[in-house]
């Protein structure tokens, strides 16, 4: 059996999608977490001075989406054919861009300014995306983003929008009923629910 070691901060952040894929498929792995202060100890040993890193029988793979895609493909969560796999890739890339867009918000210490940047981000980036996303979900017609069943793309949207609504309120996805339903569906999947209830509580 392959030994997986996922190396990341003790945060959800860019490591959580890989964790969700593994928990959803009930694949055993070593969830190696460290605190920010310990980072200098591990940085030099990573392929590009960054985490997450997945070690597969000791061989390293870097970049959060490359890791999550590899795991999704190895464990049946990537889509049923080549086209579906690419559709899933596309959605996950959209989430990657949204995550990048939240960085200025998360790192802004002035509360008023943070609110301003958040509103701008929601108005100019998130809402237009969600409008298109709702159309895609309706068009696909299964409740899932790709094909007829869950893929890592659905987990990626849950992984991003669940903390967003937790932190900034339900109004973030109020106008996206299909996405809201999908996020709720993922949250209630037994393996996901169990993992979320027992995972370390972290701010990010």
């Amino acid at each position: 059996m392959v030994h997986y070691k996922l190396i990341y901060f003790n945060l959800r952040g860019r490591g959580e999608l890989a964790r969700l894929v593994l928990h959803h498929q009930e694949v055993a792995f070593e969830d190696f977490r460290f605190e920010r202060e310990e980072w200098p100890k591990y940085k030099a040993g990573t392929p590009f001075g960054q985490v997450p890193v997945l070690e597969v029988d000791g061989k390293p793979l870097a970049q959060s989406n490359a890791i999550a895609r590899y795991l999704a493909r190895q464990h049946g969560l990537a889509g049923q054919n080549e086209w579906e796999q690419s559709q899933a890739d596309m959605y996950v890339d959209c989430i990657y861009d949204l995550i990048s867009g939240t960085r200025p918000i998360i790192y802004e210490t002035d509360k008023e300014k943070q609110k301003e940047i958040l509103q701008k981000f929601l108005k100019e980036t998130v809402n237009p995306h969600l409008e298109k996303l709702e159309q895609q979900l309706i068009k696909n017609g299964t409740g899932f983003l790709v094909g007829k069943s869950i893929t890592w793309a659905d987990l990626a949207y849950y992984s991003f929008f669940s903390p967003m609504t937790e932190r900034f309120g339900d109004s973030v996805i109020d106008n996206s009923p299909h996405l809201k339903k999908l996020v709720e569906h993922v949250a209630n999947i037994p393996q996901i629910k169990k993992y979320v209830e027992t995972r370390p509580k972290t701010t990010l």
């Binding site: 590009f48 870097a62 959060s64 989406n65 490359a66 590899y70 890739d89």
Partner: protein
């Protein structure tokens, strides 16, 4: 626009090759990797770049899955968005993605690194003040590009084939070629690769690929 000629159309039909139409602006930007992959693999496609930002884009935008380009339209019916997704799809279909699951993931990893490098250079690219722009490019080079190159050199040496992944050319090599030739070397000069001789050699190798060389010599000359 590049419309396939009749012999190409017939060949495509006989081989049941998909009809590809790549929508992107008349710049290299985020669309160039997709174009390079298709040219490298010798795959015909419609390079739809005649999109006037003010006249055409508002209408075209509404037809795109997420209001953005590049978008790859396949057989006139299916659309795929996101530059790296399109590039990966094309690379996988046309033998440029790696020889097995692990190599494919390694290629994905390197291409994600290039995507991050692109993002790191966005502010510098759009800065209008030339003095400020030079400063921003120098800062990105110092803070982000050089540390990354140090690691890439170690990996190239370790892999030992001259390529980033496995024994042969993958879209990862092409991605580094695309990013470092333009914008990086045009902005910062060849010195940016002084400490990365293996990557420099790889970029030259990619540049010397006959299909890529032919395309680069004849592609539209654009500012970005």
């Amino acid at each position: 626009m590049v419309f396939p000629s009749r012999p190409v159309k017939l060949l495509r039909e006989s081989l049941k090759m998909p009809g590809y139409k790549l929508y992107y602006f008349d710049v290299r930007g985020r669309g160039e990797l997709c174009r390079l992959i298709l040219h490298c693999a010798g795959v015909p496609f419609e390079d739809f770049r005649d999109i006037d930002y003010f006249k055409d884009w508002p209408t075209i935008k509404t037809r795109m899955p997420f209001g953005q380009v590049p978008v790859l339209e396949v057989d006139g019916v299916k659309m795929l968005a996101q530059s790296m997704t399109i590039a990966r799809y094309l690379a996988r279909r046309h033998g440029l993605a790696g020889q097995n699951d692990w190599e494919q993931s390694q290629a994905d990893m390197y291409c994600d690194c290039v995507y991050d490098l692109h993002n790191a250079t966005v502010d510098a690219t759009w800065e209008e003040d030339p003095v400020k722009q030079k400063d921003l490019f120098n800062k990105v080079n110092q803070d982000t590009i050089q540390p990354h190159l140090e690691k890439v050199e170690q990996h190239l040496v370790k892999n030992g084939s001259g390529h980033l992944v496995g024994q042969g050319l993958t879209w990862a090599d092409i991605a580094y070629y695309a990013y470092f030739t333009t914008p990086i070397m045009t902005r910062l000069g060849g010195e940016v690769l002084t400490k990365a001789p293996h990557l420099k050699k790889l970029i030259e190798t990619v540049g010397n690929n006959p299909n890529i060389q032919k395309y680069v010599e004849t592609r539209p000359v654009t500012s970005g």
